[in-house]
Symmetry: C2
Subunit: 343 residues, 2 copies
């Protein structure tokens, strides 16, 4: 399998990305190839700095770089030699089997969608993240690919995330919920209400109804669908709140007793590790015609290594084939009758 | 001041609501009156059970009850003698100066809006909650009154929450942010982008730009505006996540050492208290022509007591007068020119 890695994307690029590639290398099979895409000079000196032979990797020069804060569409138009643009183009020419980036999320989504296209039957791709909870892993989709969702998008996110949850995470018959602001049928906005109709009309899905924000971490559902704006807020809020609570605990401990603070530190570290979603290594862009993983901008080598391994799993599990098969048989079509006008 | 309290609303009604009223009583001034609205028999036996003389309160019988899960509009239409309906009607007849309920939020918003009407110049009311953070209290509006927000609504929420933050919380020149999915101007959905235009066009507001989910708890902004769906998800997610983390810490501590768990318990309790938003006692429904506080469904006596005191503060601070004054002078009008078509 050929796995392309954007070496220039992310807050710790290129160093941590290169390290992640080096860490993944011994875990790969002999016929796997890692393709490092980015500034060739930087990649070569990065590998040499880690005493790593250049021939262990394929290197593709992409001299331009898209910043984390650039407008995705503008950046892609202007920077055709950026790592993201080059990577997406390679994928479209069947020169790689997977693409991985911790760079500008919007640019990744736009480039992958434009070049790789969506899977047959899929209207819009969605980013799925796995949130570790006390009740097991919860797959949430979308978390930022699509901020103008239609009911058909959310329906398809449910289908795709359900396939992902079942195959990749091993969850049997995943319980699907739609993020809303009350458990009752009548609660929510128009998008939620119409999405519910679509999900209910498909008896093959294990749809359990609305989910409230407070229940995400309770293990009530395995798959949660929401529009990208809401999902992105949830994801980042979770990060910020966890950090705040741990900071508050630290402050309170230090103010109370240094001894207690030291005793408690390993326990906090343990919890942090257990609920650290970086462990899952990159969020798949579901619905794209290929294997594409988008990593958090703050990814360090461990996340990149895990993302490389996750891309192998995604590919070998034939997730895309199953998504297409499901969508080819469902009666809920983009222009079907399941709802008045789902698009 | 006459303060009406819905004795039937909330998960712990009527007992905890009655207790909250009894706890607030000694804190009130001599010419304040607490009006308890609900099932008269229950109220009387609740007061007697707490050895409290009936004449300490005004009691208004409202024999019907709206459940927490009922459809607000249906319930209000059918149950005209419910505590929420009776309370709203009293307010509309100037028979009370403030209304407080921990009952069905949707029913409260609908009843108060219908009976009390909005303030002059306000298009839609919004619920504001105060989130305690490491950087001080953050006022977020809306958290569930309006799930189909327009830019003008978010603009007015910014104005109203800013007045509230300044007057009630003592924040000088509150920094206002709009909840989005990236800090850059280009990030967000259409609602966010149009709202930014309105907020930028008003130089009297201290508008600082977009805020991401992760920054809410960082003390970057004092006021955060978002549509009710997003705000409600944020609020409930915060609750759920805090509970999950504290549960996880408890599990980890118990698995590690009972001694450590006992040592750590008072510190957790301290943190919980410090960041407990129940302390603020009810969320004001900003933009309504009167003083209306909506409490969390899980409110116990302390929250109710705090809400009663908060209603006095809201009333005496003349928040509504200042909101109306501000809106009468701003150039951003519901059908003005500040944006193409804000409504």
């Amino acid at each position: 399998m050929r796995i392309a890695l954007d070496v220039m994307g992310g807050d710790y690029a290129p160093d941590e990305i290169i390290k992640g590639a080096i860490e993944a290398k011994p875990l790969l099979e002999t016929d796997d190839r890692l393709i490092l895409i980015g500034n060739q000079g930087m990649i070569e000196s990065g590998l040499q700095g880690n005493n790593c032979p250049l021939q262990d990797f394929d290197i593709v020069d992409a001299p331009e770089n898209i910043g984390m804060d650039e407008s995705p569409v503008d950046a892609l138009r202007k920077k055709r030699k950026s790592s993201i643009a080059v990577m997406a183009k390679m994928a479209s020419h069947q020169e790689t089997d997977a693409v991985i980036s911790a760079g500008n999320t919007g640019a990744c989504v736009a480039a992958f969608q434009l070049r790789m296209r969506t899977l047959e039957g899929v209207v819009r791709p969605g980013i799925a993240v796995v949130l570790p909870t006390l009740g097991g892993p919860v797959t949430m989709c979308d978390v930022g690919a699509n901020v103008a969702c239609k009911p058909i998008n959310l329906y398809q996110y449910a289908v795709m995330a359900s396939v992902y949850s079942e195959r990749v995470l091993g969850v049997k018959n995943p319980r699907i919920a739609v993020m809303s602001i009350g458990e009752e049928d009548t609660k929510g906005n128009e998008l939620v209400k119409k999405t519910r109709q679509l999900l209910k009309s498909d008896s093959k899905l294990n749809f359990i109804g609305n989910l409230e924000g407070r229940d995400i971490f309770d293990g009530v559902a395995d798959v949660v669908v929401c529009e990208g704006f809401v999902g992105n807020v949830i994801l980042k809020l979770t990060e910020g709140l966890v950090n705040m609570i741990f900071k508050a605990i630290k402050q309170e401990l230090l103010a109370s007793s240094m001894k207690l603070a030291l005793e408690f530190k390993p326990i906090l570290t343990e919890i942090y590790k257990k609920y650290d979603y970086h462990e899952y290594g990159g969020a798949p862009l579901l619905g794209i015609n290929g294997t594409a993983l988008i990593c958090h901008g703050t990814s360090k080598s461990r996340t990149i290594r895990n993302a490389i391994m996750a891309s192998k799993k995604f590919h070998s599990m034939r997730i895309n084939e199953q998504i297409m098969e499901y969508l080819s048989t469902t009666t809920v079509k983009p222009n079907g009758d399941a709802t008045e006008n789902p698009l």
